[in-house]
Amino acid sequence: MQKIEELMRVKAAALLQDGTADCVLAWRKGEFPYDHATAVFHTNEELQELTYDCFCPANLAKYLIQTSRAGKKAAVFLKPCDTYGVNQLLKDHRIRRDLVHAIGTPCGGMLDIRKIRAAGCRGILAIEDRGDDVVVTCAGGTVTLHKADVLLRKCLACKGNDYKIADEEIGTKQAVPQAPADRFAEVEAIEAMTPEARFAFWQQELSRCIRCNTCRDVCPACSCEQCIFDHPGSGADGKAYADASQEAMFHVIRAFHVAGRCTGCGECGRVCPEGIRLDLLNGKFAKDINTYFGPYQPGEDAETAAPQFTFRPGDPDPDTVTQNDDRRDDHA
């Protein structure tokens, strides 16, 4: 990882130097080895802070909206899964292709500090990724963990190591950390619940929401000029809610809003301070789109229109969907 970080610094410096980029989007060292932040770099001096290791899960794609808006050329380091977000933003006409220099950056899976702590690590001083294993240096000694056990949830269903958009690639591609899990297995488990159990599950999840809006702010599909939840004229603004159903509505509305544009990056679920499984809510929509309209992966490319925006003679009627749901509920 040390080596790739060095390559990135050199590459970024060169791109700033030759005018390919006015700024570079990457990650900056955090106070602790596991809390790196996203950052915009303009100078060689700033680039000394650039870092990249298995604690850089954040997707930088959404920052391109601001750089594009400002007419700035931005070089951006993109992990394979981040490239979907860039394509989706291009498709939504939110960023300008000519102002984006995409650099494919290898990823061997990002780690979940909560899982590492749960494995008993305290006073963490350093964490080293050794491929299959992770060596954690703690104040009290060294712990070796199996990497697959401490991967972020979103990395368990890794979409692969291909870059869907890249002007150039850096370093060597890494293998997918483990055989990817079925992305929709958990969604299916929820579908199989009785309506009452399902309602209780979501009630339990969504009622924990504190309306911090982090899920929305991190989402590459959430890029409105003004969110209706911030817009005083929308009738839906304000955060102090009277009852739990309003919190649920916030998330249900958002899931509808991003349906067909959600790339399944899982950032919403990762950043939620309450650990709400928002990825499952969006996953249900993605699964239904695949079921009823054929396979569709948002962000796979920057051109193909989502099924909601195309009308074909063979499209299912709304009653097909209802009938299917009824049948499923009958089973349950």
Binding site: R69, D92, H93, R94, S223, C224, E225, Q226, I228, H231, S234, G235, H257, R261, A305, Q308, F309, T310, F311, P313
Partner: protein, 663 residues
């Protein structure tokens, strides 16, 4: 200040018998902003409209709510009334308390409560209605008729005679449709070809008519007055401008495996063929699926024998794009596929045929030159059984629930044909009921029984067995005498149900016309607008709207033509002012609306926008072309940011209605 008038209609007893209209009026009077409320027996009548006009004058009303029938029925009436007394017609709301309330509820208390709720929703919406002004659009003076059977031909001739240009698009290689296959027509028994073929010639030679045969409508864009249609001219593999129609190619073609569609499968045809002798145009077409040249690369006989070198194996489908002001659907009908009628012997003997096949067997132009024979032996049948209602009035699920309407008459016709030509052949008709309303129809059927000695037996055919030697054994019940019957007919004719053409569904999708569960086009109003589709500028002609005989088809074809002419005769149409509007401050320029707009009315334009913070900013936003927008609202739901809204149906207005219903 808002002064709303609420007018509650009794609709005679249609509404008043189920809804306590006085309570609806009383409830309306209690709503802030309502300055006047009244009920009247027939609000749409002259006196009712006068009541509205007088109230507007007396109370200074500027918004009107009418609680009455569906807006489909009388929204236009009340908007015109409002306009006459100085109220903007788009500040009129209709609360449908008839179809959506009185007609579907029995309990008066429940119906009254619902009527009050619907009235409140309409009042909530009318308060937010803004005055709108319609624009104008032009009308292309040309009509498109889809389907070249008798319905399409008749409609096209009527439109053309009125001085307007018409194009006919027919998917088969010739116009003429099903009527061209018939032998004689009831109730006068005149020869079908003798009355149809001159019409075909008239259409072909009319200076205002163009005919696209072997062609299909591929795509339809635009709207009433300005449709833009892509027509696929399928490759005939024959150069129509050089071909003389001599037909040598069709006689020399060595491929003889394809069933003749025109002869209902009773004869084989070549891979290159002219469907029938009187075809228009008389230009053959190569059926590439059966052509040896296309399938194996070896042959080319037709090309060798053609004296004019008209064969062109390299011909490609061609797409032509044309503009039309009106579209008439005349896609005709088909017969039910009898695959589920194995109990009647279907598919097990060549001597069990459909009525259409019988038409071909008695037709002088048919495969037997008009000699009625059993297809298996080639011998004249001595006993013929005709079975009615095969798949019609069927509740078992294998057929259609409706009456096909024409079978009783053609069964009598067929029985008469046979008895006339072959007096020694016995004909028995099994029926559930004989339905023969129509001018001269019942007399016609009685003649079959009384003069021609046709046996009519009220009863159902239970089953048909086919013996090893090919003979048929039929078991039936005679309901009048209660006896079980056993018969050994030589020929069985099944009167298969009429069904909508399978293409109707596809075309309905292209022009956004509505179809019913059976695939027939739905009319705008079953009584008052029977030849119009609910979609503006789309008209219905013939069987595509429902089963009907030739006289009815021709009358409807004329009626559809008149409606189309009425549209084409206008220079300008008033456009619907309920168009989409983009809130540029909120629009993020994602172009989702551009993708879904069926009219191409939205484009992304780089322009200076005032942001929500009041700053000026240069960026790309959606801009609606109001002349093209038809107000379908697709963009308003596609817009992820809620920037698109529909004038007259804004999100705010809809929410106000919902709120009024909920609280």
């Amino acid at each position: 200040m808002q002064k709303i008038g609420v007018f509650v209609c009794w609709c005679g007893s249609n509404i008043a018998a189920t809804v306590d209209v006085a309570r609806v009026v009383a409830a309306a009077k209690g709503i802030p902003g309502v300055a006047f409320a009244a009920d009247y027996k027939y609000m749409c009548s002259e006196q009712g409209q006068q009541l509205i006009a007088d109230s507007v004058r007396q109370y200074g009303l500027n918004r009107i709510v009418v609680c009455s029938c569906s807006p489909r029925m009388h929204e236009k009436t009340f908007r015109a009334c409002a306009e006459r007394c100085g109220v903007n017609p788009y500040q009129v709301e209709i609360a449908n308390i008839r179809e959506q309330c009185a007609w579907i509820l029995k309990d008066k208390e429940q119906a009254t409560r619902k009527a009050i709720a619907l009235m409140k929703a309409a009042v909530a919406k009318v308060q937010l209605d803004t005055p709108l002004q319609p624009g104008e659009s032009t009308v292309v003076k040309r009509a498109l008729v889809i389907g070249g059977g008798i319905a399409g031909i008749e409609t096209a001739l009527d439109i053309a005679d009125a001085g307007y240009k018409v194009d006919i698009v027919e998917k088969e290689p010739s116009i003429g449709g099903k009527m061209a296959q018939l032998d004689k027509t009831f109730p006068t028994l005149d020869c079908s070809a003798c009355i149809l073929t001159p019409k075909m010639v008239d259409a072909a030679q009319h200076p205002n008519i163009r005919i696209f045969t072997y062609s299909e409508v591929e795509e339809v864009r635009g709207f009433v007055g300005q449709f833009e249609v892509d027509i696929r001219k399928k490759a005939r593999s024959v150069k129509a401008d050089i071909c003389s129609g001599c037909g040598i190619c069709t006689t020399k073609c060595p491929s003889r495996k394809a069933d003749s569609e025109f002869d209902a499968g009773l004869r084989k045809r070549g891979a290159i063929y002219i469907p029938f002798a009187q075809a228009i145009p008389k230009v053959p077409v190569i059926d590439r699926a059966h052509c040896l040249k296309f399938q194996t690369g070896k042959c080319g006989v037709c090309s060798l024998v053609c004296p004019n070198k008209a064969i062109d194996y390299t011909q490609q489908d061609e797409i032509v794009t044309e503009q039309y002001g009106a579209i008439v659907l005349a896609t005709g009908f088909d017969l039910l596929d009898l695959k589920h009628f194995g109990d009647l012997g279907w598919g097990r003997s060549k001597d069990i045929i459909t009525s259409l096949q019988l038409e071909r067997l008695t037709n002088a132009g048919g495969p037997t030159e008009g000699h009625l024979v059993c297809p298996s032996t080639g011998r004249q049948p001595k006993k013929v059984v005709i079975v009615s209602c095969v798949g019609s009035r069927d509740t078992s699920g294998r057929g259609k629930t409706y009456c096909s309407k024409i079978c009783c008459m053609y069964n009598a016709k067929h029985a008469m044909y046979i008895r006339e030509k072959y007096p020694d052949t016995d004909v028995t008709v099994f029926y559930i009921d004989v339905r023969t309303p129509g001018k001269g129809f019942d007399e016609f059927q009685r003649r079959a029984v009384e003069e021609y000695g046709v046996h009519y037996i009220r009863g159902l055919v239970g089953k048909v067995d086919v013996h090893k030697d090919g003979t048929l054994h039929l078991t039936a019940s005679d309901l009048n005498s209660g006896r079980q019957l056993e018969m050994e007919p030589d020929l069985i004719v099944l009167a298969a149900a009429v069904t909508a053409s399978p293409d109707a569904r596809k075309i309905a999708g292209l022009v956004t016309a509505s179809i019913d569960n059976d695939g027939f086009y739905v009319e705008a109003h079953p009584k008052l607008r029977p030849v119009e589709s609910p979609t503006a500028g789309i008209f219905l002609s013939g069987m595509c709207q429902g089963p009907k005989d030739i006289p009815e088809t021709v009358s409807q074809a004329g009626a559809a033509a008149v409606k189309a002419i009425g549209l084409l005769s206008k220079d300008k149409l008033l456009t619907n002012p309920c168009t989409a509007r983009c809130n540029e401050a909120v629009c993020s320029g994602c172009q989702s609306c551009v993708k879904v707009c069926p009219y191409g009315a939205i484009e992304a334009v780089e322009k200076t926008v005032i942001t929500l913070e009041g700053k000026k900013e240069q960026r790309s936003v959606a801009v609606v072309n109001e002349a093209l927008c038809q107000g379908c609202g697709a963009c308003t739901v596609a817009c992820p940011s809620g920037a698109m809204d529909l004038k007259g149906f804004s999100n705010q207005e809809i929410m106000a209605e919902v709120d009024a219903l909920c609280w």
